[in-house]
């Protein structure tokens, strides 16, 4: 049937991601409530479709997407999709509600935003019916889980990176599998792929895909040997763990295995990999859980172990086994999310998660104790909990392991051993956290919301077990999807299903487990403190360090903090290749001679003067002289460009040159007056540099000689020259290329400009003030202003030397006159750009010249405009340019396609709006540059002046009383208590903050 509700639900979740920052701004940490309600709303929206799915009718929806890949945005809800989507949404809602009390006061935007983003990706994953979409959602869940762990701060950095490394590796496995499938079958449609006969016909291909998909799922579901990330990830806050590590990210791996089960369940490699890997994981996880002292890490290890049980059942692949896997997935999502939240409750009450330090909580928190007992009973498989039923089903499944009776017996025995371990660590949780405690730590009250939300999924397991029949159709539909065909006989779940072998094993497990738990004190020495294997951080750290060392060796030849080494090597290589190439093809070049009339006498004049200027830049000892010579180079380049018939380029070059020289002068006042002595580096190095320079110059000249000017003007040139004016009704062809034909290039260029402006702010705001502008005492290149001894303070000579203000009067007068004229010129250049030299860039550079004049005419450094104006100009420019592009997309169906109109006897085009965006962006960049780089140096800023760091901070934060003391990654908001930054006067004015006490 048509499943329009599927994309609608996913779009709703996407919308939720978009509005979450607004919601958190309004409601702060209480945002969990409306978001939880929205999750349940989406679940309710999906319910009718889910009903049809459970009746055996898949709901599908599809739109064309990526035609080049022949991929479509296809969604398909079947039993598996419905079960996993329900888990993601319902458990997600409970966790969000829990988080409202768990989180501290504040907006908590990143938590809620990432949680909604995660759910969005997870629901997309389970409903995807296209391999490309499936892969994208898979990667999104990896990224979202990485960010959710990483947001917990510095302590989680290492853990989150390890998580990303391992899940990223899994993403590569999945990508390889998807690529192999698409290459082999030629379709990206998931259900067509799964229905394909190739899996039975081509065992080699099936084995390859089985291993790749299995390994991908292993990384996500934390199966041995990829299990190490999960206990590590416990650095995240408890709601994140409860959601990611019980209901969502780890279940994504389980989902992937179930999704591919119809195709792969008969592949031997699949059976072996999953059964062996799963059971091994169950044992390893159980064993490490028993030995854990940290309650939350214990839960993490137990998750690893429980996922191992599920994986092994999927590996068995019979329909009973798949049904058991689905049932245990549901049961585990319920009890484990509740137990994680209970760990948060215990942590909140005791202030610690160390089992040895938790006080005896049972008498003060009887309700929490009861919830914890129920949850652990479900995990340990004690009747009448849902976990008991699913554990029995799993044991029955292991008996069906393919490969003969012996395999079944071994699998069953290992599974039973794992179940005993589960029982023992469950006992550790219950007694360790509530009963055995001897510590006399203070027990703090815990919000009833937290206890209630933790209890909800656990307690639901009790009636669900008693009336487990209600799950028959759900589990049946999911199993049917995992088997890939109709079931042999319908699923019938019941708490009591007679005296079976599993029941006896269960009784045995409970008996042995209870015996061990009763004697837990005698077992303590065995489980405590001994390290049997290095922990995950050590192993991954060692692998990473080893790789880093290899990379270090490989890079040693070219790596240097200063650029000259790798630039030299690259330049030499390019020069040799180019020169060698020219020599090799010199005979062929004769067949295609240079065009006539390439030279003009004027070129020779420019060349001579240019050579002198370049020599001047190269040999100047003082910075000022080098800058003067550089401006000479720029002016000569302008003249040569004009002579080549490029008036727009020439104007741009001239204006850019002037503005660049002004910025260089601003920066030079903070740098030593001379360059270091080049002879300090030694004679031979100097010769080598000169040699390389000559080589590169000759190579470039020869290359240009060989590769250009050997044909008439190109076809593209003729097209622009002949058709351009007709199509655009603009006579200035260069400008029409910039804003119409190749406007996307220009938009990209605008983005580079904007990025440079933003990058200046970002870099400078990552340095503390005293390192950015070192005080003269710490700066050995600082040159004090010369002391001119003049008698008579009132004399004209004294004022002329010591007062800056009178010196600026002529310039200020000139600005008053020149600025309006320049404004008119700038507007005129902008307006006429389409038909005559001018346009957004040139007009903006003239506008920047106004800024430069105004800045230079002030008597000392003053900020021009409001602090945040440059960023607004840059951002506004980009928005306007993009908006004009979207306008073209809506009106003409092509991004950035200009619209033309005749009005008021004039030709108007929407590309002028685009040009306006360019104008604002360039102006913003230059305003930012003079404001940030023009700050003066010296002991302390005079009134009205500011340090560079303060300017930089103000460019982002608005007006501040002084520089902030934050460095990279910190924001003023991060220090609400200590108030380092925005509101403290300690840094800027030396007034220490008020302290408590007298």
């Amino acid at each position: 049937m048509n499943g329009g509700v599927l994309p609608f639900s996913i779009a709703l979740l996407g919308l939720l991601v978009a509005v979450t920052p607004l919601v958190t701004r309004l409601l702060g940490r209480a945002s969990g409530w409306p978001l939880a309600a929205a999750y349940l709303g989406v679940a309710a929206l999906l319910a009718p479709a889910a009903g049809r799915v459970l009746d055996g009718e898949p709901v599908t929806w599809s739109r064309a997407w990526f035609p080049a890949l022949d991929s479509s945005f296809a969604l398909r809800a079947d039993g598996l999709g419905v079960v996993f989507a329900a888990i993601a949404l319902v458990i997600g809602a409970v966790v969000l509600a829990y988080a409202t009390s768990y989180l501290g006061e504040g907006r908590q935007t990143s938590f809620y935003w990432l949680m909604t983003a995660f759910t969005f990706a997870m629901v997309g994953l389970v409903l995807a019916d296209d391999l490309v979409l499936l892969f994208l959602c898979w990667e999104l869940t990896s990224l979202a889980s990485f960010l959710l762990i990483a947001r917990s701060g510095t302590s989680a950095e290492g853990a989150s990176m390890r998580t990303l490394l391992i899940t990223g590796l899994g993403g590569l496995f999945l990508l390889a599998a998807v690529a192999a499938i698409v290459a082999r079958l030629g379709t990206t449609s998931l259900h067509e792929v799964l229905d394909s006969p190739v899996w039975a016909e081509d065992p080699a291909f099936a084995t390859l895909v089985a291993v790749l998909v299995g390994l991908a799922a292993f990384t996500k579901s934390a199966q041995v040997p990829f299990h190490v990330w999960l206990p590590d990830a416990m650095a995240a806050i408890t709601p994140v763990s409860a959601y990611l590590h019980a209901a969502a990210v780890v279940k994504a791996g389980i989902f992937l295995m179930l999704r591919f089960s119809p195709a792969l369940h008969d592949v031997v490699a699949w059976n072996v990999l999953l059964v062996v890997g799963g059971l091994l994981t169950a044992l390893v996880g159980g064993f490490t859980a028993i030995r854990q002292q940290d309650l939350k890490k214990l839960m993490a290890c137990s998750t690893v172990s429980q996922l191992g049980f599920i994986t092994a059942a999927i590996g068995v692949g019979t329909y009973h086994a798949l049904a058991a896997a689905v049932l245990h997935t549901i049961a585990h999502a319920l009890f484990k999310s509740g137990l994680f939240m209970m760990v948060g409750v215990v942590d909140g009450a005791a202030g610690t998660r160390e089992l040895t330090r938790i006080p005896r909580l049972v008498s003060q928190m009887p309700v929490s104790f009861a919830v914890m007992v129920l949850g652990c009973a479900s995990m340990a498989g004690i009747p009448p909990m849902l976990g008991f039923l699913s554990k029995e089903e799993l044991l029955a499944a292991y008996g069906e392991t393919p490969g003969g009776q012996l395999a079944g017996v071994v699998a069953l025995a290992v599974g039973a051993l794992g179940a005993v371990m589960t029982f023992v660590y469950c006992g550790r949780v219950v007694f360790g956290s509530f009963v055995d405690g001897t510590s006399d730590r203070e027990i703090k009250p815990v919000s009833p919301v937290m206890i209630g939300m933790a209890a909800l999924p656990i307690v639901v397991g009790l009636p669900l077990a008693l009336a487990v029949g209600v799950l028959d159709t759900t589990v049946g539909a999911a199993t049917q999807a995992a088997v890939g065909g109709p079931l042999e006989d319908p699923i019938h779940l019941a708490l009591w299903h007679g005296f079976t072998l599993e029941l006896f094993i269960s009784v045995g497990i409970i008996a042995v487990g209870a015996l061990l738990v009763a004697n837990r004190r005698r077992l303590t020495p065995f489980v405590d403190g001994r390290r049997l294997a290095p922990d995950s951080a050590t192993v991954i750290g060692a692998i990473r360090d080893g790789l880093a060392r290899v990379g270090d060796l490989a890079a040693r030849g070219v790596r240097a903090d200063h650029p000259s080494r790798h630039v030299s090597i690259n330049t030499a290589a390019v020069s040799v290749v180019l020169l060698g190439g020219v020599i090799a093809v010199r005979d062929d070049l004769a067949a295609q001679p240079l065009q006539d009339n390439l030279m003009r006498p004027f070129d020779a004049v420019v060349l001579v003067l240019m050579a002198l200027s370049v020599l001047g830049v190269a040999v100047s000892r003082t910075r000022l002289a080098a800058t003067l010579c550089l401006s000479g180079v720029g002016i000569l380049a302008t003249a040569q460009i004009m002579a080549l018939g490029a008036p727009d380029v020439g104007l741009t070059q001239l204006l850019v040159e002037s503005l660049t020289i002004i910025v260089i002068m601003l920066v030079l006042q903070k740098l030593p007056t001379t360059f270091g002595n080049p002879r300090r580096d030694g004679h031979s190095r100097l010769l080598a540099r000169i040699g390389l320079s000559v080589l590169s110059g000759v190579a470039m000249a020869a290359g240009t000689w060989a590769l250009t000017s050997r044909r008439p003007r190109s076809d593209v040139a003729m097209y622009y020259l002949e058709e351009g004016p007709v199509e655009t009704e603009g006579a200035n062809i260069v400008n029409t290329i910039l804003v119409e034909f190749r406007a996307l290039d220009t938009l990209g260029e605008l983005a580079v400009l904007a990025m440079a402006g933003v990058a200046v702010v970002a870099v400078l705001s990552s340095l503390r003030h005293e390192y950015l502008d070192p005080p003269p005492a710490k700066n050995r290149w600082y040159v004090k202003p010369p002391e001119v001894t003049l008698t008579g303070k009132g004399t004209t000579a004294y004022r002329a030397i010591h007062r800056t203000w009178p010196n600026t009067v002529p310039l200020q007068l000139m600005v008053r006159f020149a600025a309006p004229v320049l404004v008119v010129i700038s507007a005129y250049l902008f307006w006429r750009g389409h038909n005559a030299p001018g346009g957004g860039f040139i007009a903006a550079l003239v506008g920047s010249a106004i800024v430069a004049l105004m800045y230079l005419s002030t008597s000392r450094d003053r900020q021009l405009g409001r602090p945040r104006l440059p960023l607004f100009l840059i951002g506004g420019g980009i928005l306007i340019a993009v908006a004009s592009g979207l306008w073209g997309l809506l009106a003409k169906g092509s991004f950035l396609e200009p619209l033309h109109a005749e009005a008021l006897g004039q030709h108007w085009t929407s590309s002028m709006v685009f040009d306006l965006g360019v104008y604002l962006g360039v102006l913003g960049l230059f305003l930012m540059t003079v404001n940030l780089l023009g700050t003066s140096e010296g002991e302390a800023p005079a009134p009205g002046e500011e340090w560079t760091r303060e300017r930089v901070d103000e460019a982002f934060e608005g007006e501040l009383p002084g520089p902030m003391d934050t460095v990279r990654g910190e924001r003023a908001d991060d220090h609400p208590g200590s108030r380092v930054g925005v509101r403290t006067h300690h840094v800027s004015q030396g007034v220490p903050p008020r302290e408590v006490g007298r």
Binding site: L598, L615, F675, R689, T704, P712, N732, V752, N779, V967
Partner: protein, 110 residues
Amino acid sequence: MITFVLIGVLVAGGTFLIQQRSLVKVIFGLSLWSHAANFILLSAGVAAWRAEPLADRTAAADAADPLPQAFVLTAIVITMAVTVFMLALAMIGHNDDTRRMPETGEVHDR
């Protein structure tokens, strides 16, 4: 031909400057390289045709190739942005020696 020599001179000067220790010299070297790159681009438009590509004043038969001109115009403005960024780096700590990294004041707690 003269343009090719001009390109060679600019590239040689740029290469010499870029190998220096002072970041300001490196930036100047990069400026020379940019000029050279711009002339290489313009040279691709063939310098034999040198009339301004303005449709209302120049016949298409004489006009210079407008496409490299559009590229160069873009390149000039990008060069300005990059230069400004590198100048901001040069200013840090009031010292532009590239073999001595500026202190940042960051404390790594790992």
